[in-house]
């Protein structure tokens, strides 16, 4: 299987893609997903993350098959 990654809003535009699929190999945390997706970029200040539609932290665990999302501060309502 693999890790499904999604990007939203301004981050989606800066990444130039709405998402991608990464091999789960060597990925154990949300931070590791970010590092692999960006080839080592630092975690942007204020960036939020979710695993399987629930908010998560950089150190939160990620498993094979998970959906991991990165996005800027929300502005709904």
């Amino acid at each position: 299987m693999a890790i499904s990654v999604k990007y939203f809003a301004g981050l989606r535009e800066r990444m130039n893609r709405a998402g991608e699929t990464l091999p789960a190999q060597d990925i154990g945390t949300v931070a590791q997903v970010w590092v692999k997706a960006t080839q080592g970029a630092p975690w942007p200040p204020n960036m939020l993350a979710a695993v399987n539609h629930d908010y998560a932290e950089a150190h939160s665990p990620v498993q094979d098959g998970d959906e991991v999302a990165f996005f800027p501060p929300v502005t709904g309502g």
Partner: protein, 146 residues
């Protein structure tokens, strides 16, 4: 308890009339508190001609259902309704409707306020404004108290 995402414009007062007619709580609720968020034609000093609301399908519904359940756990309420637009919007369009029905007003008000604050702070929506010559992502929401 209902959470609805809408791609098309909605009339909040018609939605309230329809939802309440089907509520099956006639005579039980003494208090209804509601909030409607509407797209203004001006933000941070700039004229806004249109807006696009992006969201995270799946996570949005899950989050709004989670806070609706939390409101029902914290306060003695009978029902709640959240409707939120996504996609392209025009000024004066309703963005969000929140309504809470309860026996007494304190629970209705407090739960309604809780829902809009949680929604604004954590629900995965992002606003992109169309200005006269450019577009911009809204960086953050107006704080709860100012």
């Amino acid at each position: 308890m209902s959470v609805q995402l809408r791609a098309a414009p909605f009339d909040p007062w018609q939605e309230l009339a329809r939802y309440q007619a089907n509520l099956d709580q006639a005579g039980k609720f003494g208090a209804t508190a509601c909030f409607v968020g509407t797209l203004r034609d001006m933000n941070q000093g700039d004229a806004v001609s249109a807006m696009t609301l992006e969201h995270y399908p799946g996570m949005t519904e899950k989050y709004l259902e989670k806070i609706s359940a939390e409101a029902a756990r914290r306060w003695d309420i009978l029902d709640s309704l959240i409707i939120h637009r996504y996609g392209p919007l025009a000024p004066n369009d309703s963005i969000v409707l929140i309504a809470v029905w309860a026996a007494h007003r304190a629970a209705a008000f407090d739960a309604c306020r809780y829902l809009i604050e949680e929604l604004k702070t954590r629900a995965p929506f992002w606003k992109k404004e169309k200005l006269e010559h450019s577009t911009r992502w809204v960086e953050h929401n107006t704080p709860a108290v100012y």
